[in-house]
Symmetry: C2
């Protein structure tokens, strides 16, 4: 297999091996077994799918956050059955993914019964990609939409200073003859993780992504990270969507807005302490032809007008490649992870 590896000195790992390694790291830094399992699967899955900005790149941030005492790695989420279509979870200052895992069976049951259901997670830390939260619903034949707010780093369109988080929107829908249709888009012009990766590599960003500490446009990722800020994507429209994410993920969950938490007493803390909203719809309640057949028809037509790549296609290709060849990490990264385990 090493002959097929992309980088000199890299070693391929199986998904299970990477999950086990990451689980050890989480456990060693004070999480419960359940939290370690959920976060390790999430993070290894992103790495497997080539979503490097949310893969093992995030592990040092998880570790420093756990060390800082900012997040409770042993939190037990409290699920509240509020109404026939409404589930709440108090993540109890823990991570959002275990809170979703705890509430998920009730959420799915309600969506199938009521036709639609909402999950409002509050008091939660989300430090991962958002698409892993919605994609599994599509594999179960459901349509899912999720939003999560983060931490002040985006200047609202028309404002002078940052207020919003990168505030992603993720969506997943089943289709008949292929992988689900899934996208996950930051409402910032660029994802924060991609700015961090560019800074680490010493690369310049495209124009229009952010401003420096004086509010001036810059292409230097370090200037954005050190006192600067990002811009929303698509001008006033992306800014309106980012505002909507603040309202849905924070105001509608009982969580913090992106500007409301203060981690200054927790050096090393990296995880935004906010909220997350998921809406799940059962398309079998819809009129007309089967939803998955209809979404398949849309994809067929999209290819018909010359679209070569759908959102999510790259991830599925990388996933297949990883299943065949293993997950490739460079020696330095692997050594770093092993030292943390």
């Amino acid at each position: 297999m090493s002959a097929q590896s992309e980088h000199a000195g890299s070693r391929p790992l199986s998904l299970d091996a990477l999950v086990s390694l990451l689980e050890k790291i989480f456990l060693r830094h004070g999480t419960s077994a359940e939290v370690a399992r959920v976060l390790a699967e999430n993070c290894a899955g992103a790495e497997r799918d080539g979503a490097h900005s949310h893969g093992v790149f995030r592990i040092p941030g998880y570790v420093s956050t756990l060390k800082s005492g900012w997040v409770n790695g042993r939190a037990v989420p409290v699920v509240e059955d509020v109404a026939s279509g409404f589930v709440r979870v108090d993540a109890a200052n823990g991570f959002a993914q275990p809170a979703l895992a705890a509430a998920r069976p009730l959420l799915v049951e309600k969506a199938r019964s009521a036709g639609i259901a909402v999950l409002a997670i509050r008091n939660s830390h989300h430090f991962a990609a958002l698409w892993p939260d919605v994609e599994p619903f599509a594999y179960e034949g459901l349509v899912a939409l999720s939003v999560v707010n983060s931490m002040t780093c985006v200047v609202p369109h028309g404002a002078d200073r940052p207020l919003f988080g990168t505030n992603p929107i993720a969506f997943a829908a089943p289709r008949a003859a292929g992988e689900p249709i899934v996208f996950d888009l930051a409402t910032s012009a660029i994802a924060h993780g991609d700015v961090q990766i560019a800074a680490r590599k010493g690369e310049l960003l495209p124009p229009g992504m952010g401003v420096d500490s004086l509010g001036q446009p810059t292409r230097d990722p370090k200037a954005i990270l050190e006192g600067g800020a990002l811009l929303p994507f698509g001008g006033h429209k992306g800014s309106a969507l980012s505002m909507m994410v603040e309202l849905l993920a924070a105001a509608l969950t009982g969580g913090h807005f992106s500007f409301e938490f203060d981690w200054s007493n927790h050096p090393g803390a990296k995880t935004p302490w906010t909220g997350q909203l998921l809406i799940v719809i059962d398309p079998s309640k819809a009129a007309g032809q089967d939803f998955a057949e209809r979404s398949q028809e849309l994809v067929r037509q999209m290819h018909g007008v010359g679209l070569r790549r759908l959102p999510g296609d790259r991830r599925h290709r990388e996933r297949a490649k990883s299943a065949e060849q293993g997950i490739t990490l460079d020696e330095q990264t692997l050594a770093q992870l092993q030292a943390l385990a």
Copy 2:
């Protein structure tokens, strides 16, 4: 009042007078009394709020569509109570707004009981702004999100030819000390109505809005309308959102995709025959402080970072001005409307 008019020869009308005039036009062109009332209030409300691209500017399009036999102006929507959170309406080849009006009481009842509810409208024609569909929910203390697909005129990002509609997303949320937070954004780089207005005025568009019939970028609105197409806003992200609107508004309702209807046998037809989805959430089910107080806090902070104008502010200012001074139409437009009545 005439001294305050903006245009020479313009005459201010009261909202009631404009509604009555538009009702007469709809009735004369074959709608039922209920349909005439709903559409007249919708259209006059847009004109009152300064949303000119969806105000009386649309009347000739409504009239030519009704004359063409493309839409049923006397359609009686059929409301189906599918599940505790799911309402469907067959608009019966009529307009979407009377279908929403017919299903609205059941939708609100379900949202308040289940915490969230969805309304799936199919077999419907939407030729108006989308914000009037969501704003009233916010005045009732509810959060509302709606999407509607339209007609092929937008090239998916990365494709060669148009497929999607302008596919707007509208959102409304209550706030404690002020008008609701409301936005309505086309997922195209520019709304189709604004292209039509620019074409009529002979103005050029900003760059990046559309392509001509050969797929080449153009700033000429006529080149876009005559065989050209629009681009999505915000590149691949706006394109992904437009795709989501097709799935939610058509696949999830049982309606047509933007590319599926054929009006070639109905010269004069202007109204897309598609579907519409509304999601309504009751924020009183959420944990924590009252939602409207929280959204008010977000607005306060947005002003605090230098934002002067919120989405919807201009409409509310125009609405107040219209209430005081009346609605100003130029003589030619008024004469045209009177001739149609």
